[in-house]
């Protein structure tokens, strides 16, 4: 049709060319896409290298001593070869779990206050500012703080380490939770208010469930970071070679502390245990992530 019109106007008919036009713009696009791919690969290199080394060196040791690795005590004589990381696994799990139980509820409540009640008021802005500052405090400083206010008075114990880890987790939980609450659309809150629902009920039945997956991610990140912390534990929990299931009293140990201890050893026995501990720690963090993800997706589907 249009070609008829064109020919009427005596313009020579040209074949419609829809092939992509080579231009500087499209070249630039290709270069940028290539660069992005390259950056992606570069990011993968350290991640892959860490995973490869830890799994390569640690998996064999854990499997070789399989049940004994988790059940036996850590050898008292460091030069001895063979298994035993049970006490460190116990310590890591109970200390991190206690820290999570302290920090996660407090952090979520804090974030709910900041976003749903405090908003831009002066107290809310102060708390938000302090939480941001706390994020930047080095972990060893947090450990020293707990050492001074807690450990000097009550002695070495798992709960001292938990307190230090909780202090580290708290700002991460607050910030990520507040961010997730911000993503809950206001029209959902309005829908709930329009049904005669009080604010508190709206938060527990509408806002928090909608934000749950994001909140879980934030908390997991905080837990994983805390589980790998070494510095704040060194002078709050001490170090032992036998399992201490009591988080409230007595010195304890953790996988991260054991990695630190064994990594400096010259002998093959402790070095093997160091790699094994590193693998175990990564595996625990991975397993915790999977469990939490499955749990949230189940919960989501139920709603």
């Amino acid at each position: 049709m249009s070609t008829d019109l064109l020919s009427l106007e005596a313009v020579p008919p040209t074949a419609l060319d829809l092939r992509s036009q080579r231009s500087w713009r499209s070249t630039k696009n290709s270069i940028m896409v290539g660069l992005m791919g390259l950056c992606f690969l570069l990011v993968l290199v350290p991640l892959g290298a860490v995973l490869f080394t830890v799994v390569g060196r640690g998996l064999g040791i854990v499997l070789r001593d399989f049940p004994a690795w988790f059940t036996t005590d850590i050898p008292v004589r460091t030069r001895s070869v063979g298994p035993g990381m049970g006490p460190a696994v116990v310590g890591t799990i109970i200390i991190t779990a206690t820290a999570a139980m302290l920090a996660i509820p407090l952090g979520i409540l804090g974030a709910v206050y900041l976003h749903e009640y405090g908003r831009q008021s002066r107290p809310a802005r102060t708390v938000r500012f302090l939480a941001n500052v706390m994020t930047g405090v080095p972990s060893i400083v947090m450990g020293l703080f707990i050492y001074v206010v807690f450990t000097l008075r009550f002695g070495l114990s798992g709960v001292g380490g938990s307190l230090a880890l909780a202090c580290l987790m708290l700002p991460v939980v607050i910030r990520s939770t507040e961010e997730m609450l911000r993503l809950v659309p206001d029209h959902l809150r309005e829908a709930s208010y329009a049904l005669g629902t009080r604010k508190g009920r709206t938060i527990t039945t509408v806002v928090l469930p909608s934000a749950a997956p994001g909140i879980v991610s934030g908390c997991l990140l905080a837990v994983a970071r805390a589980a790998g912390e070494t510095a704040p534990l060194l002078f709050t929990i001490g170090i032992v070679t036998k399992s201490n299931w009591n988080v409230l009293s007595g010195a304890n140990t953790s996988l991260s502390a054991q990695i630190f201890q064994n990594a400096g050893a010259v002998l093959p026995g402790p070095q093997e245990r160091g790699w094994g501990a590193a693998f175990t720690l990564m595996f625990i963090a991975f397993a915790a992530t999977v469990v939490a993800r499955v749990a949230t997706s189940r919960y989501q589907r139920q709603r």
């Binding site: 959902l188 809150r189 829908a191 709930s192 208010y193 049904l195 005669g196 629902t197 469930p209």
Partner: protein
């Protein structure tokens, strides 16, 4: 206060034949957002078991006035309400009135369908649960009757447990109506409920409004004059007036009356210009 009500129905030109009792009496309502005066001097009565439509160009304060009727403006920071909104003679903005109690009696359907990210069943059961209904049998009954009331039951009865977000836009909006009627309100406020829907879904919602108006009092904000003409018993026309001092636009109620008269024989020339499509 209540005695004055009839004096202000002077905007009505035709004498009333059978007058339903009034549900709302708005007296000199002013709404400010921060330093901005959004609406001023709105005085009107809203009658029971009628559909009252608010029409007018964008920014004229229709939605603002609607949201004063169940105190949803409380949720907007900086919103202030002056004058009075009497609901069965009780001032909704009196200090001892709880917004929660008000909203239990005066429900709302929003412009954008906003089902909760939960199952269809849980969406409808949300209000009754919040109000203390626990028994499974009672909830089942409320859910069914509300979904039937919103003409949605036959479409969703086999998938009550699936997510409400998987429904079409029109179904979502009818679900929101079902959710609103599940708490048995007296009044349902609708803020442009059909503006995002196609004509078929719109027709279903309009039919639904006609069906439920014998049970509820409905106030609807609409941009669509044909819709106002089709569904409403009374129409309130709002427009903006420029304040000569500050050169800012403030919404005002121009004319309020029976739908037939408002469209065939409006007494204000601005109403006539608007309903005949000459402006707005």
């Amino acid at each position: 206060m209540m005695l004055e009500a009839n004096e202000h129905s002077t905007l009505e030109s035709a004498p009333e034949e059978v007058s339903n009792p009034e549900v709302f009496h708005l007296q000199d309502l002013d709404v400010h957002y921060g330093g901005f005066r959004a609406v001023q001097n709105v005085t009107m009565d809203i009658k029971r078991h009628e559909i009252t439509a608010f029409i007018g160009p964008s920014g004229c304060g229709k939605t603002t006035v609607l949201r004063c009727l169940n105190r949803m403006n409380d949720e907007i920071p900086g919103a202030r309400v002056g004058g009075s909104v009497l609901y069965h003679g009780v001032d909704l903005y009196a200090p001892d009135v709880s917004a929660t109690e008000v909203r239990r009696r005066i429900g709302m359907v929003f412009q954008k369908a906003n089902p909760f990210p939960k199952s269809i069943y849980d969406n409808v059961a949300f209000g009754p649960r919040v109000n203390g209904t626990k028994s499974k049998a009672a909830l089942d009954e409320i859910v069914e009757s509300s979904l039937r009331g919103a003409a949605l039951w036959d479409e969703v009865k086999d998938r009550l447990k699936s997510s409400a977000l998987g429904m079409s836009g029109g179904q979502q909006q009818r679900l929101c109506i079902a959710r609103a009627i599940a708490v048995e309100p007296e009044v349902i406020l609708m803020d442009e409920p059909c503006s995002a829907l196609d004509p078929i879904a719109t027709a279903r919602i309009e039919d639904l409004m006609q069906e439920i108006k014998s049970t509820y009092t409905i106030v609807i904000v609409t941009h669509n004059m044909q819709q106002a003409a089709r569904v409403s018993d009374r129409v309130a026309f709002f427009t903006t007036e420029v304040n000569p001092e500050s050169d800012r636009r403030t919404g005002a109620l121009i004319e309020f009356g029976r739908t037939g008269r408002m469209f065939s024989n409006p007494s204000d020339e601005r109403t006539e210009a608007y309903v005949t499509g000459r402006f707005g």
